[in-house]
Amino acid sequence: MNNAAERATVGWDREQMAQRAALDIPDGAYVNLGIGIPEKIARYVPDGREVIYHTENGLLGMGPTPKPGEEDPDLVNAGKKQITAIPGAAFFHHADSFGMIRGGHIDICVLGAMQVSETGDLANWSTGAADAIPAVGGAMDLVAGVETIYVLTQHCTKEGEPKLVRSCSFPLTGQAVVKRIYTDLAVIDVTPQGLRVIELAPGIDFEYVQQRTGCNLIPA
């Protein structure tokens, strides 16, 4: 299968993955971006669209990374990175913040993944290994509460194992929650019939993606 060196030159790179996902964030959306590559999406939302970013530790209207010297240790995102707040932002406490999530008020959440099953199950919080320190954060709340869950992830693990699988072997974050998956190789919808490839990265064909996937894919 492919390796890290190949991944760097085949399909979309991390920035391009974020760029592709950003195309699907509509004007006026309230969006929560997971830690890691999903955070990059905010930079690539097309001009003219106004998107409000929620961070579950108590802020609507998250802005970009602060300039050096303007950081505030009391203004951080869910990944505990220092951030800014846009004009028109609002601060609130944790119960109110997760009320927004659980109550279905956030339109879109984009998360990373360890595995996604063909029925949209997501595993992204624990390997289930005996010596792992379990840590879940807000992931289970987000997938349970947000109507539209997108996953942004490399198609395979560093070891070349497929992340899109018939059934997750890792402990689940949520059952049947993922709507769409953006990988370095393709954009894939979770449908009642299974995973459907709706777009391929430049130079990638369907068979190439199928070979690197642990379940049957449906062509576009």
Binding site: G28, P87, G88, G103, I106
Partner: protein, 236 residues
């Protein structure tokens, strides 16, 4: 570009449909969105279920909506007022249904509706007629009643200031049910005394974050129910 502003109260309520559940902010006249209610009367939707703590006073605002015959059911805690017989008369004639809910349970059911909590337990009403038919469960030796979330198709609210994103500030005890109703409705419609650019409200002081607000109408000089009642006003 986020644009929640509607030009008129009529535009803002135009799609409220027959049979809709409508939460209306206010505790007595404090916080009552009279202009939005009057627009709803003009609009004509009927067979409504209305959630409000009370049933209005005189023949304006909520009382006028009830008097118009468009309200099939009231969900409230206190359907009596000193100066209105509108609800009382219709109720006695069997023309309007009443679901009586203790005030704190009403508030918590609305909050649960907005926060994705389908049901919860409370001590309130245990051993009373208002708990009849409800599930009772014991936690640590005490009985509690199970109560269900309350949601709405629309919320009609009044606030002091709103910014372009829909962040809201209220005035004193006119706040009451409005912030929680904003969370529990599919479409939250707010009449505001002031409409501000994004950034004019200190983010530390926002009471209702804009995510809960879908439509804003500027009503710079809202009417006061008590003054209308004192004048003997009748709407429409």
């Amino acid at each position: 570009m986020i644009e929640k502003k509607f030009e008129t109260v009529a535009d803002a309520v135009s799609d409220i449909f027959d049979g809709a559940t409508v939460m209306i902010g206010g505790f007595g006249e404090a916080g009552s969105p009279i202009e939005l209610i009057h627009a709803l009367i003009d609009q004509g939707a009927k067979n409504l279920t209305v959630v409000n703590n009370n049933t209005g006073s005189g023949h304006v605002g909520l009382a006028a909506l009830i008097e118009s015959g468009r309200v099939a059911k009231m969900i409230c805690s206190f359907p009596r007022t000193a100066n209105s017989t509108v609800f009382t008369d219709l109720y006695r004639r069997g023309k309007v249904e009443l679901e009586l809910v203790p005030q704190g349970t009403l508030a918590e059911r609305i909050r649960a509706g907005g926060a994705g909590i389908p049901a919860f337990y409370t001590r309130t009403a245990v051993g009373t007629t208002l708990a009849e038919g409800k599930e009772v469960r014991n936690f640590e030796g005490r009985d509690y009643v199970m109560e269900y979330a309350l949601k709405a198709d629309f919320a009609l609210l009044k606030c002091r200031s709103a910014d372009r994103y829909g962040n809201l500030l209220f005035n004193k005890t006119a706040r009451n049910f409005s912030p929680i109703m904003a969370t529990a409705a599919k479409t939250t419609i707010v009449q505001t005394g002031k409409y501000l650019p994004a950034g004019d409200i200190d983010p530390e002081t926002v009471v209702t974050p804009g995510i809960f607000v879908h439509r804003i109408v500027l009503v710079p000089e809202p009417q006061h129910e008590s003054r209308l009642v004192a004048q003997g006003s009748v709407y429409p």
